[in-house]
Subunit: 260 residues, 2 copies
């Protein structure tokens, strides 16, 4: 089984509210269909979630009643993005079923608490493709908080031990430094957590790895420690996702699981 995350920045324009990149999503759907693998899909909330969530400080937990409506509104917008993703998947004959975090799991001070994975398992076993996404959720300590797509990736990787975990991004993968500002930046095809650790230290010193990638490295470190290989790839380029899924050589970054 493959666990795939479609990053919020690849399926939405993160800077502009409620902008869905339908053409890219449709191409990714067709690549997933063509690869014909067992898949659990996670998508980010992108501009359907982050802007509202930030406005209402939802990730800091309950502070006042105005946030209650903010929570509802954010949930509704993320559900609308999820419907757009579902429509694209269904248009490509993928039997996707949505599993919304706000209804099936709870966090406790941002950490996974009550999670029922059997619903994912049962849909998978019947031939469906479960789809989940970054969402607002109840939080035992904070009242509510945010369950990010990256946290879902870690949780699902831990439970399902997938063959590979794929992050579909709007970048090719990991470079030694930021390729947009550093001509000497080298693309990393294969790496380990230890190497990434060293890279991160130097990145912080020089602030030269793209910001999105720095956060991503934390998630990948956690997944790698589970012994699961992670691949980062560019969803803007034709067939990178398909080639990665079927094991064909293409441009991407493989981070080895640590138990290997």
């Amino acid at each position: 089984m493959f666990l795939i995350k479609l990053g919020g920045s690849i399926i939405t324009d993160k800077g502009v509210k409620y902008t869905f990149k339908k053409e890219i999503m449709d191409r990714l759907s067709s690549e997933i269909k063509k690869a014909d693998k067992e898949i659990i899909l996670v998508h980010g909330a992108g501009s359907f979630g982050h802007i509202l969530a930030k406005k209402h400080s939802l990730n800091q937990g309950y502070k006042d009643d105005t946030q209650i409506q903010g929570f509802s509104d954010t949930h509704a917008m993320v559900q609308q993005l999820n419907s757009l993703v579902l429509t694209s998947l269904h248009d490509h004959d993928i039997a996707a079923v949505s599993i919304p975090p706000h209804a099936v799991l709870k966090l406790d001070d941002h950490r996974p608490s009550a999670v029922d994975y059997t619903i994912f398992k049962e849909y998978l076993s019947k031939g469906f493709t479960p789809v989940t996404f970054g969402d607002v959720v109840l939080d035992k300590t904070l009242g509510f908080s945010i369950c990010s797509g990256d946290l879902l990736m870690h949780m699902l990787a831990e439970y399902f031990n997938p063959e590979k975990v794929l992050f579909v991004l709007d970048e090719d993968g990991i470079y030694t430094s930021n390729p947009k500002t550093d001509k000497n930046a080298e693309f990393i095809e294969k790496t380990t957590i230890l190497e990434l650790e060293n890279l991160k230290t130097s990145a912080n010193d020089h602030a030269d790895v793209t910001k999105g990638m720095q956060g991503k490295i934390e998630t990948i470190k956690n997944i790698s420690r589970l012994g699961v290989d992670a691949v980062l790839l560019n969803g803007n380029v034709n067939n990178r996702l398909y080639d990665t899924l079927v094991g064909k050589k293409t441009k991407n970054t493989l981070v080895y699981g640590e138990k290997r």
Copy 2:
């Protein structure tokens, strides 16, 4: 707490695919907001669900793989209707949160099996309005089946023991016979299950009670046996829902809970 069902025929045009009655929904949202009660809302799938579900025989359970895509498509369309309902509720400052049956419960040969009601309870306790709806669901015996809005009403009434259960319909309530064909039809303001049983027998003999109402009476009989009062009212008429919620006299049919 009030448990309200917005019938599929009041929020959609049941005969025409994917037709949402936005004006009626908006007025019902404003009446719910004005009444300011603790509420769990259930809505039917109407023309967003029934047509597809019937096409793929989803309620008869798994028969062949073509149904898998049918299940997904039906789920996606019902989620779109739910998003329209959520938008209307949010536009009227109701902090609605969707709890989709296909993700949180399972049936066993059409009967409730694994159901986690705590998620409804927790959202309620934080000041949210949980919203659930007729949906496709997993079924232990059948593979999958349909969880109707009426079944949800029965399940939630049993667990929450609400003050009243309200059915918002496109009819005034229950008549002694079909008012559209029988000039002697009398409107029933208050009744008991025993009276309804007798009515039903005669209705079957003469086929003169509206068809929708006959099915409804089964659901109401089950809810009445829990000792919960049920009210049937016409959502097409201004303030019938509001008046019923705040206890003002209006045209509707009250069916007494049997434990009274």
